[in-house]
């Protein structure tokens, strides 16, 4: 037990990786789901344990040396309040969506190949968890590619329902690879300057040896660091689907199988945002990124545009999955805006919104998955009058919708509270206004659907619809319920987010 405890940071990545392999070999005849479910549950337990460990440790960090090689020579896994929180999000959503996936995916693809799906599913989780936990910049790239490659394939699995999944996947693949390659090139530049790949080490060398020379007559490597950071920022923005680099996202979310959409929407972009936060706040530091390079202004412009354009595009959709996908682009804007502000409340807003939005959007995508499962389609006309047929599922969808608007007592409101306060504290009144206008546009697109659900007329001559099977309904309600719960009592999520924000900014609360 003690050994497991010590090796938790490695196990949380290695376990799904190994289980993925095993699943692809022996996971036939329904065993695949059991393996995936068992792994996901174990990962969740480990993530929670890590979070507790970190919050209770005095230094707020747990470092794990792979093969006992110390940094900067070996790869280290570092857990601090920020990524422990993100790990928990990924593991929690992963476990819940795995439970949901069983029935959902079985109706969407060839049942004889389901074990490959679960193998890919576990690889995707491996990648996401790995990106989050690693303290090594190159290792991050590798894990990014592991998650991305499995994601491309998972998206393409939507082909049975709609062949556009294939074009969406190839589009995502091309853009995702370009993003990852940019990131890789960026590391090369920083490596040229520092000779290190360890994030903490790079940060240390930059802060002690490189940046101090910039004020003098002989600035060292100024252009190199500029270019390196710029390349990494662009690469990660692509992964994060930050406006205007969001082109791959709507189709990928729309045509992927339901469970994949739910997983991606609530974890993949979140991890992208995490990596971006890590690069800005830990790797190069805000002193460089914001005060010297004014990246914050660029990010704020992008975020503002994302909020307005994303939400507006969402309003114009009639395909509900696409509507949610565009709404995600807007929500990514909120997350980005939070860390672009750079103050404690902004960062807290960003981190807490990672969590809140994961719950909200995950629940909504799962509710739509139920609609797809029962009706085969998720257009606006398909949900007309469904409020009476699928009362629980539609209630979950509506709860999520209220969260997107940011109605009080939903998780979305808590995020908005921190975000707008942070905007005002930073003197960015225009951004505060954009956030509030964004909520109103969210009201428009959510209400469009809610009206259809509750006031629409079911078309004539359609067969009756039954409520979702329990294994799909329970996870959906679980996430929707959580999105309400964390709006009523946000003390836990806010505590973790605030601790992470304080930690990143080096402020003692």
């Amino acid at each position: 037990m003690e050994r497991i405890h010590q090796n938790l940071p490695a196990l949380i990545v290695v376990l799904p990786l190994c289980m993925g392999l095993i699943t692809s070999i022996i996971g036939r005849r329904g065993l695949g789901w059991w393996l995936a479910m068992g792994t996901a549950s174990a990962v969740l337990a480990m993530a929670v344990q890590l979070l507790v460990n970190v919050l209770e440790s005095g230094t707020l960090t747990v470092t794990y040396q792979m093969g006992s090689w110390p940094a900067p020579f070996g790869i280290v896994y570092v857990v601090d309040p920020l990524n422990a929180g993100v790990l928990t999000i990924v593991a929690l959503i992963g476990a819940i969506v795995t439970l949901y996936a069983r029935k959902s995916i079985a109706s969407e693809m060839d049942p004889r190949r389901l074990h490959f799906f679960y193998a890919l599913w576990l690889f995707c989780m491996t990648g996401l968890l790995g990106i989050t936990i690693t303290g090594d910049a190159f290792n991050l790239y590798v894990l990014l590619e592991i998650s991305s490659l499995s994601t491309y394939t998972l998206v393409a699995l939507g082909r049975q329902r709609n062949r556009r999944a294939l074009t969406a996947a190839i589009n995502y693949l091309v853009l995702g690879s370009i993003g990852a390659t940019f990131y890789l090139l960026g590391i090369a530049y920083l490596y040229m300057v520092t000779g290190s790949l360890n994030i903490a080490d790079i940060q240390h060398i930059l802060a002690t040896k490189v940046f101090p020379t910039w004020g003098t007559d002989a600035p060292m490597y100024r252009t190199t660091v500029y270019v390196g950071f710029a390349l990494m920022a662009v690469g990660l923005s692509l992964k994060l689907a930050l406006f205007p680099l969001h082109g791959w996202l709507p189709n990928a979310y729309t045509y992927a199988p339901s469970s994949v959409s739910a997983l991606l929407a609530s974890t993949a972009t979140k991890v992208g945002a995490y990596a971006f936060i890590r690069v800005i706040f830990t790797l190069v530091g805000t002193g460089f990124a914001y005060r010297m390079l004014h990246t914050d202004v660029v990010l704020m412009v992008s975020a503002g545009a994302a909020i307005l354009v994303g939400s507006w595009m969402a309003f114009r959709q009639t395909s509900l999955k696409k509507l949610l996908a565009y709404s995600s682009i807007g929500q990514i804007g909120y997350i980005t805006l939070g860390f672009a502000l750079g103050n404690v409340n902004g960062l807290t807003a960003s981190i807490i919104h990672l969590f809140n939005h994961a719950l909200t959007k995950g629940g909504m995508f799962m509710a739509l998955g139920v609609v797809a499962y029962r009706l085969g389609n998720t257009r606006l006309q398909d949900v007309q009058g469904l409020g009476r047929k699928l009362p629980f599922t539609m209630a979950a969808f509506t709860a999520g919708g209220l969260g997107l608007i940011g109605v009080p007592l939903t998780a979305g409101f808590v995020s908005k509270w921190y975000l707008v306060t942070a905007c005002i504290e930073a003197g960015r009144y225009e951004m505060a206004a954009i956030v509030l206008v964004g909520s109103l546009i969210a009201l428009l697109y959510v209400w469009k659907v809610v009206e259809a659900i509750y006031f629409g007329k079911r078309p004539e001559n359609v067969p009756g619809v039954k409520e979702a099977p329990l294994t799909m309904l329970v996870p959906t309600l679980l996430l929707a319920g959580a999105s309400i719960y964390f709006g009523i009592d946000a003390s836990t999520s806010a505590r973790v987010a605030t601790a992470a924000a304080h930690f990143l900014l080096g402020v003692t609360p």
């Binding site: 009080p408 007592l409 009206e451 006031f455 003390s491």
Partner: protein
């Protein structure tokens, strides 16, 4: 039972009630029994706090911490007590009336209808007892959302469209203005410029303004954001939602106009003026002077519009808009007596207006008439209904011996008090002119209805369709509220004492 318990129960009991109502879906009689029981229990709980509040007690209780540092907490003070008492008292006849109306008209989805009422009442009590800006905002929003299914109850295109207007205006104003103000104050609070997020005697900006941490311009802007963020007060130009909500069944209209929703609006206006911005600060800074003109214009404009409405409920809706602005006018005087008048008028208007709506619904149920022009001679067929209507009318106009007179009297006293403050007196003259003219207009759009009902002969087509009074729950309910309107003129001690306490808190 401790007062703290009572506060939580006053919010908890309606919530429990709605659960019980939902569970007794199949047994209408049991369901209605739960509705009435919940109404009585809730009123009992709120009323049991009254002696304590009159004695100067202000019990507070914290429910839970939503965001660290920002709890969902409640504190009972006289002003909130007024609103809570009015809402829960009138909810009893309103429930009785709903039962008669819904059964009499064979409305669909009755369970959903009855579930939403207690939710809305719980929200109203939450607003009334809110201790801080956050709690008030939360319950303000839940009140909007829980009344939305009521407004769109009919579910047809018209109802959906009106529901859009209702939700659109109320949420837009509250999110864009009120939430912004709340968060702005929270940001100021984080920076130490504002003493507290709680409602505080004399307002929370005193130190900030004195030390210069809050500029007067921001103070004024926040006041503006708050006044227009409270869309439920239906100040022009954000009043459109109220006439739109007229598509709802009449018990809902009565609920919106007299029991909970618009009252929540003007209550919030008074509450933030007194306990957030501070009456004397607003008076001395001069940053709220515009309000008296907006309120006055709203009174006159809404009355003029009401004059030309043939639809009875629409006419009543515009009358409500103008009456609400009386409350705001009282606030805008920024004097203790003005605040007292405003507080008292919440009560007075509630009694009169609920009676009027009950009568309108009664006419619809018994005779299926919605237009003023159809009401010729109806008073002889429905004497109770139209008699109650007449009493409500007198209260709106402000004629003794009904309660409307008392609040108008207080309002004029408030204007006189404002006169003693040395400034141009222009605003006071304006206020007096508005009160005078609007009284005439009120008479102009209400008295013809009473005249028609009692003194004009029945039309020929009406003669062919005989009908009597509405079902007994409706008649009982409207008789009760009409009696209250009369009775309250002679015995308004509780409301007067509470309003007096509010006045003292201000002065």
């Amino acid at each position: 039972m401790t007062p703290e318990m009572t506060i939580l129960l006053a919010i908890g009991v309606p919530l429990l009630g709605s659960v019980l109502i939902a569970m007794s879906d199949r047994v209408p009689n049991l369901r209605e029994a739960f509705t009435l029981l919940t109404a009585v229990a809730t009123f009992g709980l709120v009323a049991s706090l009254y002696p304590l509040v009159i004695a100067g007690g202000q019990p507070r209780v914290e429910l839970l911490t939503v965001i660290p540092g920002v709890p969902l907490s409640f504190k009972v003070e006289p002003l909130g007590m007024v609103y809570a008492l009015v809402a829960t008292l009138l909810w009893m006849p309103n429930s009785l009336y709903s039962i008669g109306y819904m059964r009499g008209n064979n409305e669909k989805h009755q369970t959903r209808f009855y579930i939403c009422f207690p939710l809305a009442i719980a929200s109203a009590i939450g607003i009334a007892f809110a201790e801080n800006l956050f709690t008030m905002f939360v319950f303000y929003e839940t009140l909007t959302l829980s009344t939305f299914p009521l407004v769109t109850h009919k579910g047809n295109t018209d109802a959906v469209r009106s529901g859009r207007v209702y939700l659109g205006i109320l949420l837009t104003t509250s999110v864009c203005f009120q939430l912004l103000a709340v968060l702005w104050i929270a940001a100021l609070h984080n920076g130490g410029a504002v003493s507290s997020l709680n409602f505080t005697h004399g307002g929370i900006f005193r130190e900030g303004l004195a030390s210069g941490a809050v500029s007067p311009a921001i103070f004024g802007l926040l006041f503006f954001l708050y006044i227009y963020g409270i869309g439920k007060a239906a100040l022009m130009p954000v009043h459109r939602w109220l006439p739109a909500a007229m598509v709802a069944p009449t018990p809902v209209s009565a609920f919106l106009h007299a029991v909970a929703v618009v009252k929540a609006g003007v209550f919030c206006v008074i509450k933030v003026t007194v306990y957030v911005f501070g009456v004397d600060l607003l008076q001395s800074q001069g940053r709220g002077d515009w309000l008296i003109y907006v309120a006055g214009t709203t009174i006159l404009a809404a009355s003029l519009i009401a004059l030309f409405q043939d639809n009875l409920k629409k006419r009543l809706a515009y009358s409500t808009i103008s009456q609400l602005s009386y409350v705001v006018l009282g606030v805008a005087l920024f004097t203790p007596l003005g605040i007292m008048a405003a507080t008292f008028h919440i009560v007075a208007h509630a009694f009169g207006k609920i009676t009027l709506f009950f009568a309108a619904g009664s006419v619809y149920t018994a005779a299926h008439k919605t237009q003023v022009s159809q009401l010729d001679g109806i008073g002889r067929r429905m004497p109770w209904t139209m008699g109650a209507f007449a009493i409500g009318t007198l209260s709106m106009i402000g004629v003794p011996p009904v309660v409307g007179m008392a609040s108008k009297w207080l309002l004029i006293n408030g204007v006189v008090e404002a006169w003693s403050i040395p400034d141009g007196h222009f605003a006071e003259v304006f206020a007096l002119v508005v009160i005078l003219f609007s009284t005439l207009l009120n008479a102009g759009y209400f008295l013809p209805i009473v005249y028609r009902a009692f003194f004009k002969p029945l039309s020929d087509s009406d003669r062919a369709h005989p009908h009597g009074e509405a079902p007994w729950p409706i008649v009982t309910a409207l008789t009760f509220t009409a009696a209250l309107t009369l009775f309250f003129f002679f015995w308004n001690k509780p409301a007067y004492e509470l309003a007096e306490l509010v006045r003292r808190a201000v002065g």
